[in-house]
């Protein structure tokens, strides 16, 4: 089933960490397997935030010699960053296996990401100036507390509560997906894509990489491919309605935009609240109500609809 949500402050930044956590808490019944958030903070000058993990949560309890392996992998990450001339400005351990680095680098980010992910068990969750992507097993409260997101200040955020139907219960299959190698682009999705393998083969031939077998990842890679061809985000989203088969509603965020698309069958829900300085959208209205104490107007976007909001 899955629950998706998004918020954007069109004026001043707000406590998007707390808001998106509250929305996802209300959607817990739509998917208890994992929770993921993409939050867009206030970009630091000439610096990037890199979120990455060097193991899956279940590896920590089951893996042979895993604690030493985690240390070794992290050291290898640090060593490769140094080799590339990346300046590490700060390092934070969100968990034993997931880390947040702020870095300064003026080289090829795509190459850097590939080189880091070449380390066994290592996956970059996000790499961008504003985007920070966090996902893990457990509900919104667990993940938000674990990664200290309750008071995260920023402009916009998207989130996902996952009910695993197409692939495993692991972090790799959890949303949001980063539209690799485009920094600051993330996607959450509710639905199923029925031409997933056709499109995956096509995109792999075009040089893209897939980190999971989850059909939702395809949307992020699909949009990345379009944007790589200098196609505007909104146009790429319209294209997705014609080219991706199945039933789906997805939400995408970039450094300064929030968008949603709903397929022509309109079988996956989405409710919207829109005002001059705030837009909130979610699979269920109860999620939007969780952050508005007062009465608001809401509506459903229709089949085949694409909407994009600018900061």
């Amino acid at each position: 089933m899955c629950g998706i949500a998004g918020i954007i402050h069109r004026g001043n930044p707000g406590n998007i960490g707390g808001e998106i956590t509250s929305m996802l808490r209300s959607l817990k019944h739509r998917g208890p397997d994992s929770t993921g958030l993409a939050v867009y903070g206030i970009p630091g000058e000439n610096q990037y935030v890199m979120r990455f993990k060097v193991a899956e949560q279940e590896d920590v309890s089951k893996g042979f010699n895993i604690h030493q392996q985690i240390k070794d992998r992290r050291e290898k990450v640090n060593s490769r960053l140094k080799e590339l001339g990346v300046e590490i400005l700060s390092e934070n351990e969100a968990t034993e296996y997931a880390f947040r680095y702020t870095i300064r680098y003026d080289g090829d980010l795509h190459h850097m990401a590939d080189y880091i992910e070449d380390i066994e068990g290592t996956e970059i969750m996000s790499l961008g100036q504003a985007l920070e992507l966090i996902k893990d097993l457990g509900d919104a409260d667990v993940v938000s507390t674990q990664y200290d997101l309750g008071n995260f200040e920023g402009s916009h955020a998207i989130g996902h509560t996952r009910m695993a139907t197409e692939s495993d219960v692991d972090i790799r299959s959890a949303h949001p997906y980063w539209a690799y190698p485009f920094n600051d682009v993330a996607v959450v999705h509710n639905g199923q894509l029925t031409n997933y393998w056709n499109w995956r083969r096509h995109l792999v031939h075009r040089g893209h990489r897939f980190m999971s077998n989850c059909d939702s990842e395809l949307i992020a890679v699909y949009l990345a491919d379009k944007m790589n061809q200098n196609i505007d985000l909104e146009e790429a989203m319209h294209d997705s309605l014609d080219e991706l088969d199945g039933v789906f509603t997805y939400v995408v965020a970039t450094s300064d935009k929030l968008g949603m698309a709903k397929d022509f069958m309109a079988a996956k829900p989405m409710v919207l609240h829109e005002s001059d300085d705030f837009v909130a959208l979610a699979s269920e209205e109860v999620a939007i109500r969780s952050i508005f104490p007062h009465e608001i107007d809401t509506f459903d976007p229709y089949e085949g609809e694409v909407r994009v909001w600018q900061l």
Partner: protein, 279 residues
């Protein structure tokens, strides 16, 4: 105190069902399957109660409504429902029920008799399987609005989502705004009045029933065809809309009428062995 009545006493079997499947599997002789507590509570129309649902879960809200009915309240006001799911369901009683706010998914399903007013919006699958009574929603509604309703008047003054009135078996659905794709999908009986535009595939695979549309129809579904509006129908529509303070922008007689082409009716003519092959 509640008294249970058999479905025969409630007149549930006055209608002759046609079609071999229904005759075989839904025999009216199996009366033990149809215990029906209609009008379980003796309520007084003017005895009013209200409560705040802000911090209550859905189950508690429904139990509270039931308790108030058992105490004879015929008018209940629920404040701050906050779009919670499955509220106001299974009410088989005469009752005036006012929701001050919005409801979530599966609101007011399986009702038989109450008159309900919602000042806000409602979520997906609202009023599913409604048997009788009236519901008026002041703002918008989500998809599968009025799925499989059998009777009563279901009114949304705003826009509604896709598959409105899917599998509708009777009653009247009125939409003040527009509807989404596959409205009236597999509709079997009843009437639908849409004052705004209708989305793609209107009336797809409808068996029977009538859909009236005031605005633009994006496209008709399989076996949905234009019908000819009669004076009697136009008069009926005007009267029905007036009950809820609505009117057709260009007059009821100008509404487009959509009915079943009945080209798909071969399905129920199949022999059981043929049906197995088809299924």
């Amino acid at each position: 105190m509640a008294t249970l009545e058999k479905s025969f006493d409630a007149g549930l079997h006055s209608e002759q069902l046609s079609g071999r499947t229904q005759q075989t599997f839904f025999s009216a002789a199996e009366e033990e399957n149809f215990v029906y507590p209609y009008n379980a509570f003796k309520v007084e129309r003017d005895k009013k109660a209200e409560f705040d649902a802000q911090d209550l879960d859905s189950n508690t809200i429904n139990l509270k409504i039931r308790k108030l009915m058992s105490e004879g309240h015929g008018h209940i006001v629920v404040k701050n429902p906050r779009a919670k799911h499955s509220i106001g369901v299974g009410i088989l009683n005469r009752l005036t029920l006012d929701f001050k706010g919005s409801l979530g998914y599966f609101g007011c399903g399986l009702i038989d008799g109450p008159n309900i007013h919602i000042s806000g919006r409602v979520g997906w699958s609202f009023a599913e399987n409604m048997m009788a009574g009236t519901i008026v929603v002041e703002k918008n509604a989500g998809s599968t609005f009025g799925a499989a309703i059998r009777g009563g008047d279901l009114v949304c003054k705003g826009d509604v989502g896709s598959r409105t009135g899917i599998d509708m078996k009777g009653g009247t659905i009125i939409v003040g705004g527009r509807t989404g794709t596959l409205t009236g999908f597999m509709m079997q009986r009843g009437r639908m009045i849409i004052l705004g535009d209708a989305g793609p595939n209107l009336g797809d695979s409808m068996y029977d029933g009538t859909i009236f549309v005031g605005g633009k129809i994006d496209s008709l579904g399989v076996d949905a065809v234009p019908g000819e509006m009669t004076d009697l129908e136009a008069k009926w529509i005007e009267g029905k809309l007036a009950l809820y303070g609505l009117e057709a922008p260009k007059g009821a007689a100008k509404l487009q009428k959509i009915v079943a082409g009945k080209k798909l009716w071969n399905y129920d003519n199949l022999e059981p062995t043929e049906k197995k092959i088809v299924l």
